[in-house]
Every structure is written in C-alpha cells, then in structure tokens.
C-alpha cells in the first residue's frame, strides 16, 4: 500500500503541482486551507503532511500547532512548503512543531528526498 501524503495549500496550481510530483509513488490527498487540512488529517490519517503557511481560515502555523496537539498527528512528519523563508519565518515554523521546511520555489529533488526520508523515518518509528 502506498504511503498517504496530505497536501494542504490554498493555491490550486500549487496543489496540482505537488500532486503531480508525488502521485506515482504516494497516495496523495489534498486540502484547500489549514482548517480543512486539520480535519482531513484527523479523518484520513496521512503518513506525511505538506503544509503551506499563508492560507485562509487557518494559516499553516496554526494548523501545525493543531496537528501537533492532536494525538493522531502528534508525530506525523509535517513539512512546511512556503515562500516565507526568512529566518523568523523558519524559526516560527520549528517552534510550531514542523518537522522540516521547503522553500518556494520548490526544488523537485529536495521535495522527493525530504518526503521519502521522513516517510522512512516515520515508518521505522511506527514499526
């Protein structure tokens, strides 16, 4: 069974691009904002979450904190995928509980390596 990756981004182009990059190897599901992301994470129990930061309803940092507070996603790898990559943005992401950070524009290799690596770590931790 393919690992499940939840892509949370309010921009349809970003969701589609990430979906197209990952769909061959992973079961990719998407959410349109932070609130929907938190709800879908609880319902679908993804193995890894890619989370934009600037989103309506609930931004990525608030969503990250909510995901960490929920038992189902307390240790799920969460990678922030964001254009907000100044030092205070990066620090805020780690303080919110993210696992890693990928800056936009997204590098394909960085995306694939980080998703694969964190899924492997999570799988070992669950074993």
């Amino acid at each position: 069974m393919k690992p499940r990756v939840l892509v949370v981004d309010d921009a349809a182009t970003a969701r589609f691009w990430l979906f197209s990059q990952l769909r061959e190897r992973y079961d990719v599901v998407t959410a349109n904002d932070g609130l929907e992301g938190v709800e879908k994470a609880a319902a679908l129990r993804p193995d890894l979450i890619l989370l934009d930061v600037v989103m309506p309803k609930m931004d990525g940092l608030a969503a990250c904190r909510a995901l960490r507070a929920a038992r189902a996603t307390a240790t799920t790898p969460i990678i922030l995928v964001t254009s907000k990559s100044e030092e205070w943005d990066v620090e805020a992401g780690y303080l919110a509980g993210c696992t890693d950070h990928i800056a936009k524009p997204v590098d394909r290799e960085e995306l694939q390596v980080k998703v694969e690596s964190w899924l492997a770590v999570a799988a070992e931790g669950a074993a």
Binding site: C98, P105, W118, V121
Partner: protein
C-alpha cells in the same frame, strides 16, 4: 508541457558564497560565508547541517548550511554536503587559514520524530555523516558537535573568536 513548479513566479534564492554585510549574515540553505574579523554568521537548521570552521591564529572563520548529503555526479551545488564542505574549506584557505589549524563545530541534522539518529533513512544523520567524513578527509579537528536529536537549532558564529552559540527551538 509540464506544470509550473510551486512558487515558480518567486525568485530563486542564490546558493554559494554570500558576503557579510553590516557585520552580520543569515545563511539560507545552500549558502556559506567566510570572514576575517568580528562578525555574526547565523542560520537555522532542521535536518540540514551547518559546520563552523575557525582558524584561531589567522582569525578567520566560516559557516555553511547544506540540506542534502552528496551531490550527484557533475553537480557542483553547495546545497550538497560534500560540495559545501569543499567550498568552505577552500575559501578559508584562500583567506589565509591553515587546514591544520582549523577547528570545526558540527551543528544540526535533527530527526524530529523522537528517534535516535544514525539510521540509513534519516536525512539529518546522513548530513552529519557527510560533514564528519569531509572533515576527516581534510584532517580537520572536530572540537564539538551539537547534532541529531528531535529539535531544530539556531546557531550563531563569530569567525574571529570562534565562539559558537546554539539555541534549540
């Protein structure tokens, strides 16, 4: 036609050497800095690794920040640890450092899921291993390591004194 990359409209942040401006510099992934004299070099590391190198006699030092372990053949980007280490050492030697006098502090390589590092699957540990190997190959002494574990780190480094400050996030 392939779909546009996420954030394709955004400027690509340059990698490679960046200059210390106004006495300080913040390093993004793939960047490194070297300097003579007092300065503040800083970065934030998750699974990435940064290596502080200092020559106490020449009063020079440098810091890098790399995100992936080893470059594929022909790729010379300092986003990769093996390239980033070679470039940092070479720039310091150009600035007057003697490799035999350099001392290193390795920082970063976190694994956020609470597990101990050192496994094949762990990107952070793979990055740390590349830094160690590059330093061993160059016969550079490792004075300290603050690596792996479950937390990100903010590091700041003074290339003149060699002082390294690390705060876990």
């Amino acid at each position: 036609m392939s779909a546009p990359a996420v954030g394709e409209e955004l400027p690509v942040r340059p990698v490679g050497r960046v200059e210390v401006a106004g006495g300080s510099v913040y390093l993004h992934p793939g960047q490194f800095a070297v300097a003579r004299g007092r300065a503040s070099m800083g970065t934030i590391l998750g699974s990435c690794v940064g290596v502080c190198l200092h020559d106490p006699v020449a009063g020079v030092g440098g810091l890098n920040h790399f995100l992936l372990p080893r470059a594929p053949a022909g790729d010379t980007s300092p986003r990769y640890g093996d390239v980033a280490m070679r470039r940092l050492i070479a720039e310091l030697v150009r600035l007057g450092a003697e490799p035999a006098r350099l001392v290193a502090t390795i920082v970063g390589g976190a694994c956020f899921l609470g597990a101990a590092g050192g496994r094949k699957a762990d990107l952070g540990s793979a990055n740390v291993a590349v830094a160690r190997a590059a330093l061993a190959e160059a016969r550079i002494r490792v004075a300290a390591e603050h690596v792996e574990g479950p937390r990100g780190r903010r590091v700041s480094f003074d290339p003149h004194s060699g002082n390294v400050r690390i705060r876990t996030l």
